[in-house]
Amino acid sequence: MSEASPATNNTTAPSSILVPCALGLVPCALGLVLCALGLLLWLAARPGDPAPRITELKPTAEQVSAPTQAETSHPERVPLAEPSEAQTEAPLTDLLLEAHRAFHARDSAALSEALESILIEPASALEVLEGLTTNRWFEPALPLSAAEDGARLAIGAGAALYASSESPTEAAFSERFLSRALTALLEMRAGLAELMTRELARAEVEGARVWGAEWLPRLLHLRWRHPDRAALFDLLLETACRGADADGALLTRLLLSGEEDPGLLRVALGRLLREDPLHWMSVARDWYERASDIETRSALASAIATAAPLPEATRFFADVSDPTLLAELRSLATREGGARELADLYEERLLSEDDPRGRRTIVSGLVHEPDLCLGIARTDPDSGVRGQALLTATVDGVSEESLDILRAAWRAGEDPYYGVAPRHLVWASSNAALHATEDLRPVALQLLRSLALDHSFPASVRLDACERLERWLTPSDHAALEAELSSSLPKVTLPQETP
């Protein structure tokens, strides 16, 4: 800041000093005190002393690490400005490099300071976007240079900061910055654009995503206008669709126009399922039946898992019984009340003696219900459901009871009411060995070893058990087990051609 910049309002100070003295109606002492006070005010505000700058309002590193409520007051707003030619490359690049360094050194205070230094000037923030579109910091040998990584941090932080009511810039700058960021994505090289999109999509301020429903029309427009870069906008669309005020009619259009796009399907259907679950569940089921690829089916299932009412969602998964939708089913199970709904549906399907495949699917989602799964492993009339229940019960932990039930199932052999398929016994024992505490692990390993040596089991299952033991045994112990296993396996004969 120039030292010569005059503060015009301050030039009135001297005349205000003279007024009390000129009155002559008050005691002289009081007049002197007032005169002294006025003089002090005039000295403090005389021309040549600059007013505090916005950059001096930013907190220091110490303030950042221990912020107080008082710091959240609105700082002065900075007018909009174009990127300045006067800004040399070095300081901005240095700040980006510092942001990168501070981030990777986990130095929050230094990172905050570097980002504040960039973002306090709207022109610098825009310059970062321009630099990314022109590959100013691109290094051919690297997918992302250190300065670009710093720019990634600055753009993500800028999106959140400017969208905030606490932003140090004019309110209109948020719109301008975010709009420029969107078009800049189209100008960046593909990998960089994807990274920046992720950063932007995550931008959050005061618990709310930056990309609200008001951005939907523009995002859709960009997506349809640039089909080759459509995937970039799907992430942002997903965020915008989450808003409670997202326009249902617009989303319906989006969904109907993008039925073949798994990303759009998931985004729009998820939002519409919350709006009119009855109608859209029926549509989703119909589309699922017609879908021929796993990506589309997964997108439909994902939307249902996260957005459909729990009873409808659990029924959907039980009905389709698709083992390649385990991840989506587990998303459903993590919803509040999801596991309870699955348990209720299991009871209902058990009583109706429905197709056991539905129950198997339900049980595979009951991951955080080991006691319930152990009960199912003992009592379900179908061996496949019992086997799945043993897998689910042992996948996150193991107890003495679960090992007892495993042994009991093994002893039951091929009993239709108590037995379990050999592969399920091996896999559940392997899970148990993985999660067992030090005192239970030898028990689990002994069980797995016994299964490997069980002559009644298919050779492939025994070999699988032996392979899974390898990580726990010494090389010599494992070699001995392999030898023992080989000697007990039936000799393999090549299949003869049928005459």
Binding site: P67, H104, L326, R330
Partner: protein, 140 residues
């Protein structure tokens, strides 16, 4: 007399054959990784800018990753003299993930990272395979 008898025998053979060659082969499904990240968890640093709390800048970190092995299914893909048959079951394995601080050897730097560890077998899927129909085949 011989010809009608042969026809009758042939017809009875066709009626009894319930394994007519479907002329279908198995369809390849590539291995796939699905992530469970209901709360969009991310690892990284939290910072404050001008008194505002901002979220972290690290990698996304799902709570779980599920690995579906490559397998084959029967989806009616046409192939003469072939049928699609069940081959075996394959395990679906999963990992649980958490945010950690990963040190970059030799640099003294540590950065937030998402680390996953195997948790075992969560389920199974069926693997199918293409088989040649036995020859001679009654309906070929």
């Amino acid at each position: 007399m011989t010809i009608p008898l042969a026809l009758l025998l042939s017809l009875s053979a066709c009626i009894s054959c319930d394994d007519a060659c479907p002329d279908e082969r198995a369809t390849q499904v590539d291995a796939r990784v699905s992530e469970v990240n209901p709360n969009d968890r991310r690892c990284g640093l939290g910072i404050r800018l001008f008194g505002l709390s901002l979220e972290a800048f690290g990698p996304e970190c799902p709570t779980e990753r599920i690995y579906y092995p490559a397998h084959q299914t029967c989806q009616g893909q046409p192939a003469p003299y072939s049928r699609c048959e069940f081959e075996k079951t394959m395990p679906i394995e999963y990992e649980s993930c958490d945010c950690v601080t990963a040190t970059i050897l030799g640099t003294g730097l540590a950065l937030p990272d998402c680390e996953c560890e195997p948790r075992g077998i969560l389920g199974e899927l069926e693997d199918f395979a293409s088989r040649t129909c036995p020859a001679p085949y009654p309906n070929q």
